[in-house]
Structure formats: structure tokens, C-alpha cells
């Protein structure tokens, strides 16, 4: 947690810099000596993994932008030139495209970790809200980015999502026209989406800085959900968590590389290898997998405006979670009832995603999927607005351990260490 800096400059040069710009001090305090709970598990490594993903996307993106042409007549071909002619262009493009999927995979694990261990609860509410903002910015970036190759899915996905704005009464169509710069998605839209796609990741980087700064005030939460009570509860970030994060990052990169080199189009849609055609709609318009749950919610409501509100409300709901959960106990490890609702939520999110990928009239065992999606959407809202407040009040949590040190080292060792 934020406290006194323990940095002492060792050389004359370090002293000179420290007096003028305390950057080495900042690095030392946040990444070297920062007291971190000693019981963080694998689910706590995804913050570092996400930072890696952001860096990879920015670097590969900047390099791709050296070759990409943001013009409706040339965009599709310029991507193919990258794949075929630019040295290692195929590699950089596949890293960028699969990197987006890996980025969202990591962010969902990171968010679910926060939900399970109660990391959003006081005093970490703002970290959570800043995180929701990052998630929103990520979705916007991914949406803009998917339009850029100007394939059939790029074009029609852009058409469907920007048309949502026309649902807004009175000003809706004007907003849609304003977004498009034209009477439909076209070259004007493509150019501005490219500009925004380049810009927003740097906004994300800045907000991530705020996210980590806000985290370093109270310090990390931990799987037990109990506060740090003494220095025995923590270890310095380096080398304990630098090496642990490095190891898990390596495992993550192995999975990433598996997709890039052996299944580079697994997450993609074949229709996007066809150039955009404003006169031919593909039989099934689907966004990338990470937007499917919200897409399913949108489609499950027959009314256009209500569908938009339900989808938007689902994301907006996330902001209120710190106040919706009434439990005094943070971690689901000690919340036997909440734990079950949590896993049901996770399962329903996956089911929603599956529904979003199928065509509108699909059915399983005679049950139209649109009803499954409605059920899961209701559960989504119920989980946050009903279950979280109510379960917190009625549940009997398990007994919390006395301290992190005691839980990790054993009672006698913890006592001996004091």
C-alpha cells in the first residue's frame, strides 16, 4: 500500500536523477519493494498479462499502420499485401488479430477474478470503476479495429452496430449519419474509425496508469479477501511476483503462439476474407466472440430501442457492483451461497455467448435459442440487482482466517514470525 518510499539512490547519477524526476524511485516503490500479499494465486497474474497484451497490440498495430491503407477501395487489398508481401507481415497481422482475442480472454478472467474475490469492494471501488472504463474503451477499440480490413463482416458488423444509434428517439438518425459521415457505412466511416482505433489504445494506456495508481493506494486484494495486517502478510513484489508473473505470462504466450502459428483463423469468420459488399448481406452477421454475450442480449429483445437499452444497461450495471453487493465478506471462498450463484453467472455468460453466435431462428431440442438468451439475460440482471444485494444479507459466511500469514505459513509459523 502507499506509504513511505524506501528508495535510497545508490550512485551519484541516481541521486541526481532522483532530485529532478523521481522516476527510478517510482519504479522501485511500485515494482520492486511494493508489499504484495504473499498468497496471490494464478488468477492474480492476469493484470500483468493484460499490460503485456496492450503493449503487443500497440506495437503490432503501429507497425501494421505503416502498410495499411484506410480507404474503402484499397483497405482489403492493403491487408492482403501485408499478409503476402510485407516481410513477416503475415506474422504481425496474425499476432494483432489473435492478440485482440487473447486480450479479451485475459480481461474476462481478470474481471471474473475481481467478482469472485470481491476486489471491487471498499476501498477498491474506484479501481473497479476505472476497470469498467478500460473494458468499455477496449470494446470500442476492438469494434473500430474489426472494421478496418473492410471484409463482409467488417462492413455489416459496423452497419448493425452503428444502426443501433438510430434507435434513440428524435436524434437517433442524425447521430447515425454523424457517425457515418455519409448515409451509410462507407469510406468516410472507415477513415474516422482508423483514426480512433489508433487513438483509443493510448487512452487505455493512460487509464491503465490510473487503474494501477488507484490499486497502489490500498494495495492488492488477495484470495482470502482479508486485509493485510502485518509485514508478515506480504512479500516484496520483486522477485516474488516478477518471477511468478513472468512464468504465467510465458504459459499465456504459449497458448497465444499456438493460435498464431497453428490456428490463426480460429477466432475469425471466413466471411471477412470476402471484400465488403454493401449490396449483399451475409446470411449470419456475428461480431467477434468477445462481444457475443452482449449481442445475444441485444437480439433477444424484439424492440430495437429496448434491445439497445438492455445491452447498454448490462454494461452500465458493472459500475454499480461495489454498492450492489451488501456482503461484509469479500472473497467467495468464504461465501458458500454466493459462490454457487457466481458459477451460475459464469455459465450463463458462456451460454449467452453461444446464443449470440447462432442464427436468430436457431433452436436446441425444439427450444428457440432466443428464449434461452432471454432467460440468461434475466439471470444476468438478477445476479447483480437482486442476488448480490440479497445474498449478502442472508448468507452465513464461513469463518475467516486470522491473517494471511497464518493461512499461508500456519498458525505457529505466523506467531513465530511476529
Amino acid at each position: 500500500m502507499s506509504g513511505q518510499s524506501t528508495y535510497t539512490p545508490k550512485s551519484g547519477l541516481e541521486k541526481w536523477i532522483d532530485q529532478r524526476l523521481p522516476l527510478p524511485r517510482l519504479m522501485h516503490d511500485t515494482m520492486q519493494t511494493f508489499p504484495t500479499p504473499r498468497n496471490l494465486n494464478i488468477w492474480y497474474t492476469f493484470g500483468g498479462i493484460l499490460t503485456f497484451c496492450l503493449a503487443v497490440q500497440i506495437i503490432t498495430g503501429i507497425v501494421l499502420a505503416m502498410h495499411y491503407v484506410a480507404n474503402a477501395d484499397m483497405a482489403f487489398d492493403s491487408v492482403e499485401r501485408i499478409m503476402r508481401d510485407v516481410n513477416y507481415g503475415w506474422l504481425i497481422r496474425y499476432i494483432h488479430a489473435n492478440g485482440a482475442s487473447m486480450f479479451f480472454l485475459a480481461v474476462y478472467i481478470h474481471m471474473f477474478r475481481g467478482l469472485y474475490y470481491g476486489s471491487y469492494k471498499a476501498p477498491r471501488e474506484l479501481i473497479w470503476i476505472i476497470g469498467v472504463l478500460i473494458y468499455l474503451l477496449m470494446m470500442a477499440t476492438a469494434f473500430f479495429g474489426y472494421v478496418l480490413p473492410w471484409g463482409q463482416m467488417s462492413f455489416w458488423g459496423a452497419t448493425v452496430i452503428t444502426n443501433l444509434f438510430s434507435a434513440i428517439p428524435v436524434v437517433g438518425t442524425h447521430i447515425a449519419t454523424w457517425l457515418w459521415g455519409d448515409f451509410a457505412v462507407g469510406d468516410a466511416t472507415l477513415n474516422r474509425f482508423f483514426s480512433l482505433h489508433y487513438l483509443v489504445p493510448f487512452i487505455i494506456a493512460g487509464v491503465v496508469g490510473l487503474h494501477i495508481w488507484a490499486l497502489h493506494v490500498p494495495g492488492n486484494n488477495n484470495p482470502l479477501g482479508i486485509d493485510v495486517k502485518s509485514p508478515q502478510d506480504t512479500v516484496p513484489f520483486h522477485p516474488y511476483y516478477t518471477v511468478k508473473d513472468a512464468f504465467y505470462l510465458c504459459l499465456f504466450v504459449i497458448i497465444f503462439a499456438g493460435f498464431v502459428f497453428y490456428a490463426p483463423n480460429f477466432f475469425g469468420n471466413p466471411d471477412n476474407y470476402q471484400q465488403a459488399n454493401p449490396l449483399v448481406t451475409p446470411p449470419d452477421i456475428v461480431p467477434e466472440w468477445y462481444l457475443l454475450p452482449f449481442y445475444a442480449m441485444l437480439r433477444s429483445i424484439p424492440n430495437k430501442l429496448m434491445g439497445v437499452l438492455v445491452m447498454g444497461g448490462a454494461i452500465a450495471t458493472l459500475v454499480f457492483i461495489p454498492w450492489l453487493d451488501t456482503s461484509r465478506v469479500r472473497s467467495c471462498r468464504f461465501r458458500p451461497l454466493m459462490k454457487q450463484f457466481f458459477w451460475a453467472f459464469a455459465v450463463s455468460a458462456v451460454i449467452l455467448g453461444y446464443c449470440g453466435a447462432q442464427s436468430v431462428d436457431a433452436a436446441i431440442a425444439g427450444i428457440p435459442l432466443v428464449w434461452v438468451a432471454r432467460l440468461c439475460s434475466i439471470y444476468y440482471y438478477a445476479f447483480f440487482w437482486l442476488i448480490m444485494p440479497i445474498v449478502g444479507l442472508i448468507e452465513t459466511p464461513k469463518k475467516l482466517p486470522a491473517s494471511i500469514a497464518q493461512s499461508v505459513l500456519g498458525a505457529s509459523a505466523a506467531a513465530a514470525a511476529e
Binding site: L91, V243, K244, A246, F247, A257, F261, Y273
Partner: protein, 265 residues
């Protein structure tokens, strides 16, 4: 009597006028073409690539463009394996629309487009100058460009193979083939605009391989798979090196992690 006869008669009458059950024209599951390049260690069969190129050149290129392939791609590693001289010769055999001559003309006196022989840097010329011309020559159907077709279709090379070998079948009873279309149950809706392109011995392979329809389809699907993904072999080779490196690195990092944490418990 009437209380039974009338309702019965109505019911029978209804049954008689009921339309036949609508046939489900969902495409059949794709065939497995047993391609050599599938799987993490698969590579393209050079012979199949060259034969497939011959099939494309002699059959498909009449209607289908290959816009993203340049002649210099033919001699690149991981491809059909032509030498630079062979690729140059192939290029020179094509007529490429010429740049304006010194008088600024691009047509000759008879109104024909001036052409020049292809060079390595040129791309395969399209059979039609634009989509409308393509449609006019194909009963209003637009033959798609083939340079990405394997990546642009669910099922990839096996889908292409299934379509090409899926012609010449008898449609089931009750199914009518639309005018100017052909029956192919591997195509969604079963009515495909493309006439059966392949015939047995339609191409005479220079390496002596028997040119059955299945062989021709297999070879051209291999060629088109390469056209969609010319970097596949390089990608898989690099993948192996990268994954081996990462697994070793993970091992080293794991050992370091255990060492660092040994005294924390």
C-alpha cells in the same frame, strides 16, 4: 351419417390439398479430401500444387480471377516450386493490359486493348474487366475471385473439393433445379450457378498422373489453398521453433519461480 361424413370428407380434402413436405436444402456435410497440408506438420504437395495450377490455368481462369497472386509468387519458397525462369516464362505467356504508349493510347485501331507480355511483378490478369462484364458472361452470376476462396469459405479446401466433386448427381424427388443453375448438394440451397467445371481427362497432366475428376479437384483445391495461404509452411516451421523455445523458457522460469518462493513458505 352426415356428422361423420362431412368432417371426414373435409379432413380428407384438406389432406389431399396439403403441399408435400418442404425438402431441407441445407448443404451436405463436407467430404474429407485427405489433404497433405492439414495438421501442425502438414506441407503442400509440390506435385499437387503444380497440377492444380495447371487446372486453374486451363479450366478455372476462364471465369475466375486470381487477383492477389503475382507471377513472382510462383517461384517463392513454400509454393509450387517453379524456378525463376519457369515463373518468368509463365508470366510471359500472359497478355497484360499495357501502359499508355507514346501517343497516350491504350487501344489499337480496331478498339482492342493494347497488351504486353507479363513480367514477374505482374498479377494474374482477371478474365473480365469488371463485375458487370463477369455477370453478363455468366447468366448474371458473379464468379468469385479465387485467391482467398479457401479462407473465405467454412470448411476451406474440403468445401472446395466437395463442391467440385459434388456435381453430376441426380436430385432427390421433389426438388426442382432452378433455370440456369446446377444441382450440387454441397452448396447451400443445392442450386449452384457454376456449371460442372471438371471433366475426366479434361486436363492432361505433364507428370502423367491420371486426371480423374477427384484428382483434378484435389489438385486445384491444394493450389487454391496455397493461393489463400502462401506462408503456411513458413508459419508452421516458425511455430515449432517458437513453441519449443517457449516451453524451455517456461521450464527455466518455473525453476526460478520455485527457487524464489522456496523460502517464502
Amino acid at each position: 351419417m352426415m356428422r361423420i361424413a362431412l368432417p371426414l370428407g373435409l379432413a380428407l380434402g384438406l389432406l389431399a390439398t396439403a403441399p408435400a413436405m418442404a425438402i431441407d436444402t441445407t448443404r451436405l456435410p463436407i467430404k474429407d479430401g485427405n489433404f497433405s497440408f492439414e495438421g501442425p506438420f502438414g506441407t503442400y504437395d509440390r506435385g499437387a500444387l503444380q497440377r492444380g495450377f495447371q487446372v486453374y490455368k486451363e479450366v478455372c481462369s476462364a471465369c475466375h480471377a486470381l487477383n492477389h497472386i503475382a507471377f513472382h509468387n510462383l517461384d517463392e519458397a513454400g509454393g509450387p516450386g517453379f524456378s525463376e525462369a519457369q515463373a518468368k516464362a509463365i508470366a510471359a505467356g500472359y497478355k497484360i493490359p499495357a501502359e499508355p504508349n507514346d501517343k497516350g493510347e491504350i487501344f489499337d485501331d480496331k478498339g482492342n486493348r493494347l497488351t504486353r507480355p507479363g513480367i514477374l511483378a505482374d498479377y494474374f490478369p482477371a478474365p473480365f474487366p469488371n463485375d458487370n462484364a463477369a455477370r453478363a458472361n455468366n447468366n448474371s452470376a458473379l464468379p468469385p475471385d479465387l485467391s482467398m476462396i479457401v479462407k473465405a469459405r467454412e470448411g476451406g479446401e474440403n468445401y472446395v473439393y466437395s463442391i467440385l466433386t459434388g456435381f453430376h448427381q441426380t436430385p432427390p424427388k421433389g426438388f426442382t433445379v432452378t433455370a440456369n443453375k446446377y444441382y450440387n448438394p454441397y452448396f447451400e440451397g443445392w442450386n449452384i450457378s457454376m456449371p460442372p467445371p471438371l471433366t475426366a481427362n479434361g486436363v492432361s497432366y505433364s507428370d502423367g498422373t491420371k486426371a480423374t475428376i477427384e484428382q483434378e479437384a484435389h489438385d486445384v483445391a491444394t493450389f487454391l489453398a496455397w493461393a489463400s495461404d502462401p506462408k503456411m509452411e513458413e508459419r508452421k516451421q516458425m511455430g515449432l521453433s517458437v513453441l519449443i523455445f517457449l516451453v524451455v523458457l517456461a521450464g527455466v522460469l518455473f525453476a526460478a519461480y520455485r527457487k524464489v518462493w522456496a523460502d517464502a513458505h
